[in-house]
Each structure stands twice: as C-alpha cells, then as structure tokens.
Symmetry: C2
Subunit: 294 residues, 2 copies
C-alpha cells in the first residue's frame, strides 16, 4: 500500500461535518467523504462507527445519489479495514475521471450539431459543449434562463468565453427553440431506478419538445449518479429566487427539481459511453460491483 | 333603417387614425373600425376610399385577424352603400357577444375540472374561469408567470378576487404542473388556416405537456380571429421585459408569440360551441359568409 499519508484530523469527525454541509454539491461532498473513508480504513477505525457516520451523511443528503451508492458500497465491502482500502481507492480513481469521460461521450454524440439547446448549470454539460465547440461543428448554444435561480445565465456567460454564439431565452420559449435546434443537452442531478432523470425544472419542457419535434436529448451523467439500489428520496427543495412578488391572495410555487420519464431521454452520455435509459441502471450496478469486487 | 346617428367626425379620418394605433388590442380596434364602417356606409362615402382606408388599417396591423377578415368582408359586400349597412351592423352585433359566448363554451368544457393550468392574460379565458368558479367544480387555477412581459401575474391577481386558490409558477414548471391538473385553458391571438394557434410564448410548452399526459387543452377564441383567407402575417414582435440583463457577449432572444400546431389543441371553444381544430376554418368561413350574405 506504500506510504500512508497521515490524516490531519479524525476522519469520523470529518464525515460528521459533511453531514451538516448544506453548501457543497453532491460531487464535492462525495469526493471528500471518499477521502475520509480511505483514511478511516487506513487507520483501521471500527467498521460500525464508520458505517454509522456514512448513514448519517446519507440521511442528511437523501437526494445525493453518489453518497447513497457510496454507503451501499461501504456496507458491502468485505475484509474491513485491510481489504477496503484498495476498493475505496479504486472507486475514488474512477470518480476522478468519470465526469470528464461522460463529457467526452456527450461531445461525441453532438459532434454534428450546429445549434444546441441547454439549460441550468452542469459542469459536465459545459465541458461537453466546450469540446464540441473545439472539435465539432457546434456554432450556437441557446440557454434557457432556468428560473427559479436562473443558473442559465452562469452557463451562458461561461460559454460566451468560447468562440460560440450564445443566446439566452426565457423558459417559456424552450419548445419553439428546440424546434429549430439539432440537439438538446442537459446534466443530471440523479438517474432513478426506472431510467428517469432528476434534473432542474425546465428539463421536462425541453424533453417533451425534443420528443415532439424529433430532436435528440442527451443527458450527461456519470454512472455513480444512478440510483442502483432505490435509496433516492426526492427533495422538497424549492426557491422562488428570480420570480416577482405575487399579487395579494396568490401563492408562488417553485420546486427546483423535476423528474423526466425515461422514454423522453434519447441517451445517457456516461463514462462508459452512450447508454440507453433502459440499460443505465444495469450498467451502473455492474460498474459498482466491479469496483467493489475488484 | 330608422334614425341615423350623425357621426361626429369624418369616418375615413377615424379609420386612418386606427391604422396608427399601436396601443389598443385587436378587439378594440376591430370594434371601432366596424363603427366607422357603418358610419361610412350610412353617409354613402365612396367605396374605393373606404376600401383604401381599410387596407391601410390591415397593412399596419397584419397580425390582427379580425381586421383582416373585416377587410375581406368589406371587399365582398354587394350594393354599397345601401346594402352594406345592415350587413355591417349584423357583423357588429355578432362581434359584440362572440367573446362572451366563447367563454361560455369554454366554461362548459371545463365544468368538471377542479384544477386548471393557464398562462398570460385573455379576457375570454378569464371570463370562462370566472364562470367555472361560480357554477362548475373549479377550485384551483395555476397560472404561469408568462415571461416575457409576465401577464400571468395580472391574471392571477384578478382570479384571486374570485373564491379560488390561485398559484403562480415559473414558466419552467408548466409541464410538471399540467401533469397534476384536470385541464388547461388558453386564449388566442389568432387561429391559422391549418387550425394551429397563435398565442403567447409558453403555449407550446403547455400544449406538449397536455398531449404527453392526456390532459385536455381548451383554446378560447371567437371565430372572427380565424384567418379564413390566409392573410395573417406573423409579427416579429419581441420584448425582453422581465428578463435579467445577459452576461457580456450573450444575446437575449424573446419573441412574444408562438404557433402551436393544431394536433396539440383538443378543442376550440367558440361562440358556436366547441369546434375541432380540423373544422375551425370551415366554420369561421361559413359564419362570415352567413353574416355577409344575410
């Protein structure tokens, strides 16, 4: 195992702090938790204490599928702690490049498209568009404002630094813009057991338009975001940021996420290349078993 | 013909002023133009001068189908001026109640719905919802914000004065809200020769969701808005009111209207009751011929 880096602090305490982390994204929390788990195994901390911390972490982020999968992995590891270190390191190594490979697969999938519609912010989608702009035929990206929160503007601003025509549209115009595009591209917050996609609200409008007008919808996701064991619980997260004050007697209702049924997704672009929504759960399960069993 | 009201001013001058009117809606301009035409016929003004003014009016409002139809009616009138007065008065009488009857037909169509989704502002749709709230089972209306311009808030505010639960949503959430509704209801800026609907942007998102999830989409329109003779020219109107400033190097694109194909409209609620999108042009043609030929 070579030289063991001495962790600076108690890994279990670190895991407990991650449970309270409401600011970081799923990938960031996942990477930190994985580092802390590697440390826990190296230090030979008791399996039950580690498991307890991982479960608390999942309970506080029940929508972060990579964490839920990580918890399932830790539960299934044999030979704790000695046998666990190599497995957890293999998972960490996989996770390190998975999103980049998913972006690569997405870029390959849209290499003939000149005009692509997208929404919200996804680092994987952005990387795919960057690659397509460099080596594909991509010339124009249409970005929906993505209310509530309006992350489309962040995406648009960053795309504008590449050599692309970038257009922002109101979310109401998504279907008419899809009609005149070659492809649509979105990220993923999670993929459910039936192959459906959990992502920012607006995705369903995009997906229905793609379906109606025969435009492919590519969803970029690494397989670690696939809810292989059905542990995902839909978050009740809502925000009305970016929406005007309602008139007297009127409610505002602004959920952030929505579920797009599998039949409206053309393909998932993953670290293993393009995967059909019908196969994505099996493929993710196989991958995780391979990583755990070696 | 009874006592003839003396018009206060030159009707042709009035028609010329209407051509320059950029503030009033199609129905208002239509009603005023019709009054001026009745006056023109009563005063026996020369047919060619009247026609010239009507054509100029249409040229300056090529998206206002009632005006285009009015122009076609004036062109086809026989026996100017004597025979024209009664015909134009019959048309005016029809127009006076057409929208109210269309609202009545829409209310009848949604009388079993408890939860309806709508968008933008339409006086006919509002009247239909008001009637459904009074005598139907309607309890809740979900109104999309309707960017650009955001007229959904006006609709929501006025609905809130009735005894209804009123919820405003971002346009991104239209499809997921439709999924949980009993019906959707929209107005019409125009109906084209192929039965498709010209209406505020966002309508296509609503229509695609209705189609995907088996929810009826009722479009309220009087038959005078149907482009019987193919004279409609799509306006290039756009506005980005209500959208944030784009980042550097990014364009904003905000068309106001969009076309929803006939296959996504369940029914048009008209002054002659519910009419299929396949039949709506024929029905409007028959109505106009009846009014003109008596």
């Amino acid at each position: 195992m070579g030289r063991v880096r001495r962790p600076e602090r108690d890994p279990l305490e670190g895991l407990r702090e991650r449970a309270g982390d409401r600011r970081s994204g799923a990938s960031e929390i996942f990477q930190r938790a994985l580092n802390l788990l590697v440390d826990s195994a190296r230090l030979g901390l008791p399996r039950e204490s580690v498991l307890e911390c991982v479960r608390a972490l999942c309970d506080s982020h029940p929508e972060m599928v990579p964490l839920l999968n990580l918890s399932a992995v830790v539960e299934s590891l044999t030979g704790w702690p000695a046998g666990a270190v190599g497995r957890l390191e293999a998972l960490r190594e996989h996770a390190r490049y998975a999103r980049l490979r998913a972006a690569e697969a997405a870029a390959a999938r849209i290499e003939d498209a000149r005009r692509v519609v997208t929404l919200s912010w996804s680092s994987t989608t952005f990387e795919a568009l960057r690659r397509a702009a460099l080596s594909g035929s991509l010339r124009e990206v249409v970005v929906a404002q993505s209310l509530p929160l309006g992350e489309g503007l962040e995406t648009a601003g960053r795309l504008a630094s590449l050599s692309l025509k970038v257009v922002v549209i109101p979310d109401s115009a998504i279907p008419s813009q899809v009609r005149e595009a070659d492809a649509s591209l979105v990220g993923a917050d999670a993929v459910l057991g039936d192959g459906s996609l959990v992502n920012k609200v607006g995705t369903l409008s995009l997906a229905l338009a793609c379906d109606a007008f025969g435009i492919p919808l590519v969803a970029t996701t690494d397989l670690l975001k696939v809810d292989v064991w059905g542990r995902f619980r839909r978050p009740e997260t809502s925000s009305c940021d970016g929406l005007p004050e309602p008139p007297k007697g009127v409610e505002l209702e602004c959920p952030i996420f929505e579920v797009t049924p599998a039949r409206f997704i053309s393909i998932y672009a993953t670290e293993e290349g393009p995967v059909s929504p019908l196969d994505v759960v099996d493929r993710a399960g196989q991958l995780l078993r391979r990583l755990v069993e070696g």
